[in-house]
């Protein structure tokens, strides 16, 4: 046996447990998988329809582990066309989901820069100037233009606005109420168990994370080694930064030509709107242009005066100081949005990394004993900006394949899973639309305007025309500070600000933004609050004791000379700060497990394996409103 072992090798042999199917990560994809599978496990009389191999006479034994403390602690403001979700549930059932509402109004809004601090190109400034001149003729209002139409490939007008936290919680209730599946939050999975056999390498289950360890990973008196959970099939749906999916990527590699180098950080707030905000439930606003040209934003209105408001910071935004939190606040302060948000109260906050490589980021979807579903399997459609429904549908497809194989009493080999699951996926709308989207974002490497043109070309021609692909950039290949800000701040001053930041042990981003003319945030204690207060008031971030630090700086000596420290600048919870001797320090109690550190490590030699290791970790956000 060549089972991989955790880095903190325990002296005690891990306990063993056997089930038929083990799932890792509970999100929309796992929800789709378990929902579909649960409907096939029992006959009408309650007898097993699909019998367990590990517990003869019993129904199939299915168990799923989720690292977060709750199954509804996922982070995403979602507007989705919900084609796959609607195929699983009737509309009447979906109406029961708290915070869910059909889309009733959708707008695409170009936000002008009311401050003059945004890093706009000369071409954009000229365009903005013309828009302002033409003013009301072009529908300009509150420094914004509501575009006359939304490209069809972006439209969500027939869809649903969801709180993914509430959606996950609702789905988990449906699944567990069936009584045939077990979902366990608060249980991080450390890694897959990979064994060499005559048939090749086989994933035979997962190893759970050690408990009762000190922050440095050394065993404490309460030490309990992570259990080995053996299963004929391991379903991996742990998202883009999940430990199991990444270990599989690392062990088996990606298909030739594929990569996972394009990312975005999504950060959002759930806001209780004032009573006369004027926003109706079901309203969807997509924005572009502010606070920086590269940053896209959104506002979705849920029932009961709740709204999800957020932004995306893409990896192709080349600034090496690109903290999301302050940008999010400036976004909310834009006059077009502020007229709605003034008087609102923060109810929840969170952040999440998004895998934006799309089809290019697809790993091997199936292997001996395992299958990949959801965002980590490259299902996100980067043209439509849609991932929830696609992820859900891949889970449904896998469940249908599993039922087919079990009924035919065929094992979960790579060949069998490819002939069933992967075949279903290739024939589905998920795959067809991902082909159209495959090259749609190539242009963003050359600039925002080129990127938007590229999206339009790919979208309107259904992928026939796209801006030529070129070598993918490294995700952290940011430009030098001087190159980004040199036109606004002298090079010597940029260097001075960087030196001051290093000397004081603080992040650089605020200094740069202040210097560029971004005003200080007028804190009001309700909606506009400090970053740390957002962790407490909006995220209720927790870190249960007995688990090791899950962010590790593999070679601290590399970090010492790394400037600016993008991991510090991008950390969503300010959990990574400038530590002693130039080595970043990690505070587990502030980590929301967004994974931004992983893809923002500037020490990466190939763009996918940086100097930061993100291990399976417990805790994080404690909010189900996201």
């Amino acid at each position: 046996m060549s089972a991989s072992t955790s880095e903190q090798t325990p002296a005690i042999e891990p306990q063993q447990m056997s089930v038929d199917i083990v799932g890792v990560g509970f999100g929309p994809a796992m929800g789709g998988f378990l929902t579909t599978l649960s409907r096939h496990l029992l006959n009408e009389g309650g007898t097993p329809r699909l019998e367990s191999a590990v517990a003869p006479g019993m129904p199939l034994q299915v168990i799923c582990y989720e690292r977060a403390d709750g199954l509804g602690f996922g982070v995403s403001g979602a507007v989705t066309r919900a084609r796959g979700i609607r195929a699983s549930f009737p509309d009447a059932a979906l109406a029961q989901i708290p915070m869910a509402v059909p889309v009733s109004e959708e707008k695409l809004v170009y936000l002008l820069d009311p401050i003059g601090a945004s890093r706009r190109s000369l071409a954009m400034r000229i365009a903005d100037f013309k828009v302002r001149l033409l003013g009301s003729l072009m529908g300009s209002r509150d420094f914004a233009v509501e575009l006359p139409f939304i490209p069809r490939f972006m439209q969500k007008h027939d869809g649903l606005i969801l709180s993914l936290g509430q959606f996950n919680q609702w789905v988990s209730d449906q699944v567990t109420t069936s009584g045939v599946m077990q979902l366990w939050p608060g249980m991080p999975v450390s890694e897959p168990i990979i064994e060499s056999t005559a048939e090749g390498e086989v994933v035979t289950g997962v190893r759970l994370t050690d408990q009762g360890v000190n922050p440095d990973g050394t065993p404490s008196e309460q030490f309990m080694p992570g259990m080995d959970v053996r299963a004929a099939l391991t379903v991996v749906g742990d998202g883009p930064v999940g430990a199991v999916g990444r270990k599989l990527d690392s062990h088996f590699g990606l298909p030739p030509g594929n990569h996972k180098r394009e990312w975005a950080l999504g950060m959002k707030m759930v806001i209780e709107l004032r009573e006369d905000s004027g926003l109706k439930p079901g309203t969807v606003l997509h924005t572009l242009g502010f606070p920086e040209p590269e940053i896209f934003g959104f506002l979705y209105v849920h029932p009961e005066r709740l709204a999800s408001v957020g932004i995306f910071i893409p990896s192709w935004m080349r600034s090496p100081v690109r903290t999301a939190y302050r940008y999010l606040q400036h976004f909310m302060l834009h006059p077009y949005l502020r007229r709605y948000l003034d008087g609102g109260t923060l109810k929840s906050w969170g952040a999440k990394s998004l895998q934006e490589s799309g089809r290019d980021g697809e790993p091997f979807l199936a292997g001996n004993g395992y299958a990949r579903i959801g965002e980590g399997s490259g299902s996100t459609n980067v043209l439509a900006g849609s991932g929830v429904d696609e992820g859900w549908t891949t889970g449904v497809q896998l469940a249908e394949a599993v039922v087919e194989l079990l009924e035919q009493k065929k094992p979960f080999t790579r060949e069998n899973l490819e002939a069933t699951y992967v075949r279903r996926r290739r024939l589905s709308w998920v795959d067809n639309e991902s082909k159209i989207a495959a090259d749609s974002r190539n242009g963003f490497e050359k600039g925002v305007v080129t990127g938007l043109i590229g999206m339009a070309l790919a979208g309107f021609t259904r992928g026939l025309i796209a801006i030529a692909a070129h070598k993918r950039p490294l995700p952290a290949s940011t430009s030098a500070l001087e190159a980004i800000y040199g036109s606004r701040i002298s090079k010597s001053e940029v260097r001075r600000l960087a030196e001051e930041s290093a000397a004081s042990g603080t992040a650089l981003h605020d200094r740069i933004m202040n210097r560029c003319g971004w005003p200080e945030i007028p804190f009001d204690g309700r909606l506009l609050i400090s970053h740390q207060d957002a962790l407490l008031m909006g995220g209720s971030v927790q870190a249960p004791p007995g688990y090791a630090n899950h962010v590790i700086f593999l070679h601290p000596e590399h970090c010492q000379s790394c400037e600016p420290k993008l991991c510090v600048e991008m950390c969503s919870g300010q959990a990574i700060t400038r530590g002693e001797n130039g080595v970043p320090a990690f505070d587990r109690e502030k980590c929301v497990y967004c994974g931004a550190c992983l893809w923002n490590c500037r020490s990466s030699s190939d763009g996918e394996k940086g100097n930061i290791q993100l291990r399976a970790g417990a805790g994080g956000l404690h909010s189900t409103l996201n």
């Binding site: 077990q182 979902l183 366990w184 740390q532 404690h622």
Partner: protein
């Protein structure tokens, strides 16, 4: 005397302590806004009781633990996904509101009724555990009332430790004023023990325990009987949830004494 115990832990659920709570008035009385959307946890006081019960049962072969909970079963199901990994027990659910606005008499009625319906329960070996102040918003009377309804005369509140003796009796440490303990010897079950914090840490999540528990938890939840709160006789004049105050300021390079002095001044102002 036998050292086999039938331990019943009465445990309600409450919103995750870090959530923002907002009382509202509904047609059926006071409630918390969006309570069903808030993440919930097992009442922290009762959690300690559960850990003590599990520890006691683990050291007394043949003993068994039941967890009796009156809560909306959909929320209880979510809470069980965490709790069931920590200790072996059998769930006895009552599908009832858990907003904290039920009076202790009503909750005691629900709980005692559920306990009386447990098949195979040996009342002569019964140890009734619960949180000292659980399910009553710190009124501290629910456990007494449950005990009274079950006819249990030996009652201990604010328990920090229980030590079993070879003859079947046990020593109980109860909190009293001044940070001291009252030491009592009880001849044996049945008895009521309303736990304070106990002395045991939160157990680790054990997947095998969880898997074994869940085989009985889900059927129990599916069969849970509904219990409605009476609408008569109880009127709330005003409701105020615990208030969190937060004033955050980042301070660097300042002597600890100065920070302490400022904190002291702030506390005195409150």
């Amino acid at each position: 005397m036998s050292n086999v115990f039938h331990i019943i832990v009465c445990a309600g659920i409450v919103p995750d302590p870090l959530q923002t709570l907002e009382p509202i008035t509904t047609a059926t009385g006071p409630a918390l806004k969006n309570e069903m959307m808030l993440p919930a946890v097992l009442d922290p006081w009762a959690s300690h009781a559960l850990y003590e019960a599990a520890n006691l049962a683990a050291h007394a072969t043949g003993s068994k633990v039941w967890l009796v909970s009156a809560a909306p079963k959909a929320k209880l199901q979510q809470v069980m996904m965490n709790v069931a990994q920590k200790a072996a027990f059998e769930l006895v659910p009552v599908d009832a509101p858990a907003s904290g606005f039920a009076d202790a008499h009503t909750v005691a009625e629900f709980l005692s009724g559920a306990i009386e319906s447990i098949a195979g329960l040996d009342r002569s070996r019964l140890l009734l555990f619960g949180g000292w102040e659980s399910a009553s918003r710190a009124a501290g009377v629910t456990m007494q009332l449950v005990g009274e309804r079950l006819g249990i005369l030996d009652q201990f509140q604010g328990v920090d430790r229980i030590t079993m003796q070879p003859d079947g009796s046990f020593e109980v440490l109860e909190r009293i004023e001044g940070g001291r303990h009252l030491v009592s010897i009880c001849e044996g079950p049945p008895a009521v023990l309303g736990w304070a914090t106990g002395s045991l840490p939160e157990p680790k999540n054990n997947p095998q325990t969880g898997m074994a528990n869940m085989r009985s938890i889900m059927p129990a939840l599916q069969k849970a009987k509904s219990a409605a709160l009476r609408q008569d006789g109880l009127r709330y004049v005003s409701v105020t949830p615990p208030k969190q105050q937060r004033q955050t300021r980042i301070v660097k390079d300042r002597p600890a004494d100065e920070i302490a002095a400022e904190l002291l001044a702030w506390i005195e102002e409150q």
